[in-house]
């Protein structure tokens, strides 16, 4: 069962363990992906989400299936948090017909529109205007849906970010812009790319309300997204969350890490880790025993997903040809 939201207020064992489990699923999923990539079963450009789980889970936990999420190149976590579909994601990464995009898209292009997951994106900043469009459609149709755009601080230097924020504010569209400032865009540190990394200031420039969030603390994310949702659902226009976090893994499969060891070490401590963080906030609700139990469950589900993907057929060329080649 999906237990909704407001872990801080409800604070129930069920809510906390559900959130924990979803973050753990993303963590272990990504670790498997890394292994399978090394073993040659997964290929292409793979950007891992490890360390940022609190943002995807905190945000998506507060959303309905009817709300929209537009993701990025680093989208596995967003996909899992919004849809819960571990098998479809794994099969997609292995290029199988049972993948969530039928094996056509791969890591950067997972889709599940029925659950409001409107796709990853290979173009940095490319998804923000699409999210704007979904927000427009929601308002146009008079539904109460919101549209969430995830993007990195790197993407905030694209024109699409600025143009979309302005347009959303102008038309009072239900857009929630979620910046995941993980301090690097590929090898470029935020200081070298972004004149002022305080996204709340950029938002203010377009008359958009914003909150600065500790992106490694799922409770903080959860509180912020609920504030954003009440603002946006009340028709008051867009909202921006500036989530501070860190990319613990290298940028992408092929690129060597150039970051200083001391810096990496700080972000690899238990205090920074979003999973440990939640457990330490609720030691009574998340005992070591319960965590061990969740580990078992998650690993079992992932074993099943990997088996499912391995046993799935590849897409059929004839069918693809008929459907897509003009």
């Amino acid at each position: 069962m999906r237990v909704k939201n407001k872990i801080k207020e409800t604070g129930t064992a069920e809510a906390v363990s559900s959130i924990y489990k979803r973050m753990l699923t993303i963590r272990r999923f990504e670790e498997r992906v890394k292994q399978l990539y090394r073993g040659g079963e997964i290929y292409g450009a793979i950007h891992l989400y490890i360390g940022q789980e609190a943002i995807a889970v905190g945000v998506c936990d507060a959303l309905e299936d009817s709300d929209f999420v537009f993701s990025t190149h680093r989208g596995h976590g967003h996909y899992l948090a919004k849809t819960g579909d571990v098998s479809g994601a794994m099969a997609e990464l292995m290029g199988r017909a049972t993948g969530c995009s039928k094996g056509h898209g791969g890591s950067m292009h997972m889709f599940d529109p029925l659950k409001g997951f409107m796709g990853g994106n290979g173009i940095v900043g490319g998804g923000i205007p699409l999210a704007l469009g979904a927000a427009f459609a929601a308002k146009y149709k008079g539904t109460n849906a919101v549209s969430v755009s995830f993007f990195g601080e790197g993407a905030s230097n694209q024109g699409t970010f600025h143009e979309s924020l302005n347009l959303a504010a102008l038309k009072k569209l239900p857009l929630i812009a979620v910046c995941e400032n993980n301090r690097y865009a590929a090898t470029t540190p935020v200081k070298a790319s972004t004149a002022d990394e305080d996204m709340a200031k950029r938002a203010a420039g377009y008359n958009v309300q914003a909150l600065t969030v500790d992106g490694n603390d799922v409770e903080d994310v959860s509180q912020a997204i609920h504030k954003a949702l009440s603002h946006v659902r009340a028709g008051k226009g867009p909202f921006l969350l500036d989530c501070k976090t860190y990319r613990v893994e290298p940028h992408c499969g092929i690129i060597a890490d150039t970051r200083p060891d001391e810096e990496l070490a700080i972000w690899r401590t238990p205090e920074k880790d979003p999973l440990n963080r939640l457990q330490s906030q609720h030691p009574d609700l998340l005992t070591d025993k319960q965590v061990a139990h969740l580990e078992l469950e998650v690993n079992r589900e992932l074993d099943q997903a990997v088996d499912f993907a391995r046993q799935s057929p590849y897409p059929r060329v004839e069918q693809f040809t008929e459907e897509f080649i003009r």
Binding site: E92, M108, T187
Partner: protein, 327 residues
Amino acid sequence: MKSMTYIEAMNEALAEEMERDPSVFIIGEDVDVDGGVWKETQGLAERFGLERVIGTPISESAFTGLAAGAAMCGLRPVLEFMYMDFVDVAMDQLCNQIAKLPLMSGGKVKMPITIRMCGTGTGTREAAQHSQSLEAWFAHIPGFKVVMPATAKDAKGLLKSAIRDDSPVVFIENRNIYYKKELVPEGEFTVPIGEAEVVQAGSDVTVVTVGYSRSKVIAAIEKIGDACSVELIDAKTVDPLDMKTFLDSLAKTGRILIVQEAHTECGIGSEIVRRVVAEGFDLLDCPPVVIGSKNCPTPFSPVLEDAVIPSINEIMGKIMLLKQYKI
């Protein structure tokens, strides 16, 4: 000759041109950190300073315009897109500004920009937004020259020519051959823009390759062996086309195949066919043939990607079909 990779050859070209001409500078994402994601600028920031090797935010439109404005004022930028696909974001600056300013200014403004399209290619399972060969876009817009080196030697020689050229040159690289060692002449040399190369002489069928397809055609020719005498021509420059070299070959063979990685529709192959028909109709013994990627965005799954990009088997088949065509 010395052995080096395509990436090392470009690195050497960049270093030599920066040494030779202080107005040359490099601008693009991550170029200043540890040689960029492809390692082509390795050591250049240390050697020439961060004033001349400029890392940028992910703001393709703005840094392309920056290069254009700087070129108008006498600098010689080498602009880099991490993948060719990302150039889409900067198309106004490229096509409405860079390509047109020299003419619109009555020739008073020059645009000596080299626009490096890194990481172009297919077959590495990077899906639809990281697999496009967009040379035809730039060949279509008057104002650009477009080169597509397929060897380490041409990468170095054409890059040096591009940097010295007073027009904007779109320089399209290929990731599939970035790290393969090849022999490159030592010392100073350039490769002229606008000249194709007869890589192998033959008498049955002319095969013109565009960019990376050269490697696939060489593999196909090896497999065909004595069954067909192929004249292999690497186009090298796709705008302006070296029609003379193609037509001279066609005069011997009467049959021509063009192989490109880009989608077949409205590609460079189509343009070569148009000009072959217009300028060499009497030389043709049979209809010209173009092989390219199928007309769909490039899918991720290996089975699908392999089915839509040109394959060695498909190339062999078409070469033999042309040879066997009865007049």
